[in-house]
């Protein structure tokens, strides 16, 4: 374990941290635009299907995929949190402490965004897609 990660591993690790921090937020934004846009536009055109798929299924996809992406970000955040709990000897403590803060923020924010996506998506179970 004494060897240091190479530049590619570092890049991947750094990106993984940002996925953990921002993944939920981005997934929620995508979910909101996709689900709202699809629902609004399809209903406005007077249909309830998109191609072969019923509208409900398409909206459901726009709920489930972002939710899964958020869960992924949550797991990544948990990983960073664990990895920064007992940093190996001899590592500069600045980046570790900074990453730990980001990990805490990431865990809670992913939970919040997951809650929003799930709450909004739950309406799919009770509301017909084009009811006004």
């Amino acid at each position: 374990m004494s060897a240091h990660p190479g530049p590619r591993a570092r890049l991947a690790g750094g990106l993984l941290l940002w996925y953990a921090v921002l993944g939920g937020a981005v997934a929620w934004a995508v979910h909101l635009f996709a689900a709202w846009g699809v629902d609004e536009l399809t209903c406005a055109s007077g249909r309830e299907r998109i191609g072969a798929l019923p509208l409900q299924a398409v909206v459901a996809i726009a709920v489930v995929l972002p939710a899964l992406a958020t869960v992924g970000a949550l797991l990544a955040a948990a990983l960073v949190w664990r990895r920064t709990a007992h940093p190996p000897e001899g590592l500069d403590e600045h980046p570790v402490r900074r990453s730990r803060l980001l990990a805490v923020v990431a865990i809670w924010s992913n939970l919040l965004f997951l809650a929003i996506i799930v709450l909004g998506g739950a309406a799919l179970l009770v509301l017909p897609p084009c009811l006004r």
Binding site: A25, W28, A29, H31, L32, A35, W36, D39, E40, C43, V59, H94, P95, R97, R98, R100, L101, L102, V104, V105, W108, S109, L112, F113, A115, I116, I117, L119, G120, A123, L124, L127, P128, P129, C130, L131, R132
Partner: protein, 642 residues
């Protein structure tokens, strides 16, 4: 925990002379117009925003005087329309955000241990634009040409056929002009906070106020374009006959509302967020401990900034969205209350666990919590659709948003004014006078706005210039008016307190409160170069911890004094590792020239003198070209291969 002794300067006398030479400005007319010192600019923001607050406040008092009795004839309906529109527009755009940006300008470089903002000239430019745009809008009032269709200027009322005259052109051009300043300042805040933090200030040691300002700046970057586009379209519709909002020609009036609220909802947080940052900054000094739950407050700041973009639809109940789409937005609206709640509970916990020092700033913080929570409570009532439809466009709404805005922005600002007055002016304020002012402001605020809930429920609509005598209306309206005069007297006492402090106040020590962040580690008021020795940060509360303080004392190394020029340090984005020494720009008249050229542009657009407007654009381009023109350097230094 705290020291009141002057920070032992680690810089030698000779260094101090050099620093003074490179950063100091001899008072002269020219330096007044050309300064790029963030402290002077920050002070100007505060004073100018204060002036616009005064004008908007006088407008409000005039309205309240008119509404004191039924069927009063003090104001004509046209005058009343212009007054409430200018009041709302100025309070939101010319007072709230610029005032908080003024605090940001003064404080951010001090709090992060830097010598100036990242782009000092851009900073000066932003101030001039703000000043000129504000004057541009206010000057229309005496000519009877001020905006008159409410602060959100809904079409079709605002289309030319329905509101002829310059009114709405002043609105759209004025806000576009102002938008330049707000965007410039936001970019500057973000870059400053990313690159100019003192060595050692990794993200987990950044003061909460700086987090709040940066989050606000990001919100501006992504929200303001919607408003700018909206205003540009409105201007084109009115002036050049486009049809964006004209349903008769494939346009749509709801487009205005959507774009307006895509901006408008985040804007509520743009106003409140930095004010909440002030709360987190002031609290430690008066509870003798750090704010509880630093990571959770950072979480709240970041998530509120993001989620606030996803809730705009709740301003448009009546527009017939599919219920399913609506639920995606209401999920966001209900979850955003969680981070807001986290902040309130963190502050309450801080107060409960700390030792309270009941000085004026803390009084305002308590006033803030009480008022803001009440405003939040009436806000939650709107979530009931039936209730919302009942009180929409009544005085209940006016009561609600004044509780939120005065509670959530004005009270924290007042706390901030008292708290940082010693730092800004180098003088202490009079505690007794401050207390009187607080109680008058607090009582005046509630006496003015609480009754509005009542007559709102009794059915009094907002935006009416007068009313017939109705049961329950007359008496409560009179109470509101009396309250507004109390409030005005209280605010006047605040002003007197400030002037008194500047004229007669005791000289302030560097750290009168035992504050925790870096601005308390330097003199009051700070020297033009802020810190003789740039600090090295070892914790979240650098002024409270020994190693951080010592880093500025004897034994400081040359590489943090940097006296050989107008220099400061760049550090890395996340961890605040030292990167390199940079040369900062000197004072210059270019920012003022650029702002004036823009003023000419917007004024000539208003009056349709288009050839002059084109000439102004050329001047703008030329000024920017000269401003950024690369200095000539020897080939060796540049690194040119032949």
């Amino acid at each position: 925990m705290s020291t009141t002794a002057a920070p032992a300067p680690g810089a030698s006398r000779q260094d101090l002379t050099l620093l003074e030479e490179h950063w100091g400005e001899r008072p002269s007319l020219r330096s007044w117009f050309s300064t790029v010192d963030h402290k002077r600019i920050g002070r100007r923001y505060l004073v100018t925003a204060g002036l616009f607050f005064f004008l908007a406040g006088v407008s409000a008092l005039t309205m309240r005087t008119q509404l004191a009795r039924p069927e009063s004839r003090l104001l004509s309906p046209q005058e009343y329309n212009q007054l409430f529109t200018m009041h709302g527009t100025a309070m939101i755009f010319l007072f709230a955000t610029p005032m908080l940006f003024g605090f940001g300008n003064f404080l951010v470089p001090l709090m992060i241990g830097s010598r100036d903002m990242a782009f000092p000239k851009l900073n000066a430019f932003g101030y001039w634009v703000f000043l000129l745009a504000g004057l541009f809008m206010w000057v229309s009032l005496p000519f009877g040409a001020a905006p008159n269709a409410g602060w959100f200027a809904y079409v079709p009322l605002t289309e030319r056929v329905n509101t002829p005259g310059l009114h709405l052109d002043v609105y759209s051009l004025g806000l576009l002009f102002l938008g330049i300043a707000t965007t410039a300042a936001s970019i500057n805040f973000i870059v400053t906070a990313l690159k100019l933090r003192a060595p050692g200030m990794s993200l987990n040691r950044v003061p909460l106020f700086v987090w709040a300002i940066v989050a606000t700046a990001f919100m501006v970057i992504f929200a303001l374009p919607a408003l700018n586009l909206d205003n540009a379209m409105l201007f084109l519709d009115r002036r050049f006959g486009t049809h964006f909002f004209d349903p008769g020609a494939a346009g749509n009036v709801l487009l205005w509302q959507h774009l307006f609220w895509i901006f408008g909802h985040p804007d509520v947080y743009i106003i409140v967020m930095p004010a909440l940052g002030i709360v987190s900054a002031v609290l430690p000094a008066f509870t003798r401990r750090g704010v509880v739950g630093y990571p959770l407050i950072v979480l709240a700041i970041v998530t509120i900034a993001i989620i606030s973009f996803g809730v705009w639809v709740h301003h448009m109940f009546a527009t017939g969205l599919p219920r399913l789409s609506y639920s995606f937005f209401s999920a966001a609206s209900s979850i955003i209350t969680i981070p807001s709640g986290i902040q309130i509970f963190a502050w309450l916990a801080t107060m409960a666990l700390g030792r309270l020092v009941l000085k004026v700033p803390l009084l305002y913080l308590i006033g803030f919590i009480v008022t803001f929570v009440l405003g939040g409570f009436t806000g939650a009532m709107f979530a009931l659709t039936a209730f919302d439809q009942q009180v929409t466009d009544s005085y209940f709404v006016v009561a609600h948003f004044h509780y939120v805005l005065i509670g959530g922005a004005v009270f924290p600002m007042l706390a901030g004014i008292y708290y940082w007055l010693p730092k800004i002016t180098g003088r202490m304020y009079h505690e007794g006078l401050g207390r009187w002012a607080f109680w008058l402001v607090f009582a005046g605020m509630h006496v003015t706005f609480f009754p509005m809930h009542l007559y709102g429920l009794f059915g009094m609509p907002r935006r009416v210039y007068t009313y017939r005598s109705e049961p329950g209306w007359d008496a409560w309206n009179l109470v509101s008016t009396i309250g507004s005069y109390l409030l005005a007297i209280g605010l006047l006492l605040v002003l007197i307190g400030v002037v008194h402090a500047i004229r007669r106040g005791r000289p302030a020590p560097p750290d009168p409160w035992g504050g925790d962040s870096l601005e308390w580690s330097t003199e009051s008021p700070p020297k033009p170069y802020n810190f003789p020795v740039l600090p090295e940060v070892h914790s979240l509360h650098p002024t409270w911890d020994e190693p951080s303080r010592e880093s500025m004392g004897a034994g400081a190394t040359e590489d943090r004094i940097l006296a050989e020029g107008r220099r400061t340090l760049f550090t890395s984005e996340l961890d605040g590792r030292r990167e390199r020494v940079v040369e900062m720009p000197e004072a210059s008249l270019q920012p003022l020239v650029l702002a004036l050229a823009l003023l000419v542009f917007f004024t000539t657009m208003l009056f349709a003198w288009y050839p002059v407007a084109i000439a102004a654009v050329v001047v703008v381009a030329a000024t920017i070209g000269v401003w950024l023109w690369p200095p000539r350097r020897p080939e060796r230094e540049l690194g040119v291969s032949t």
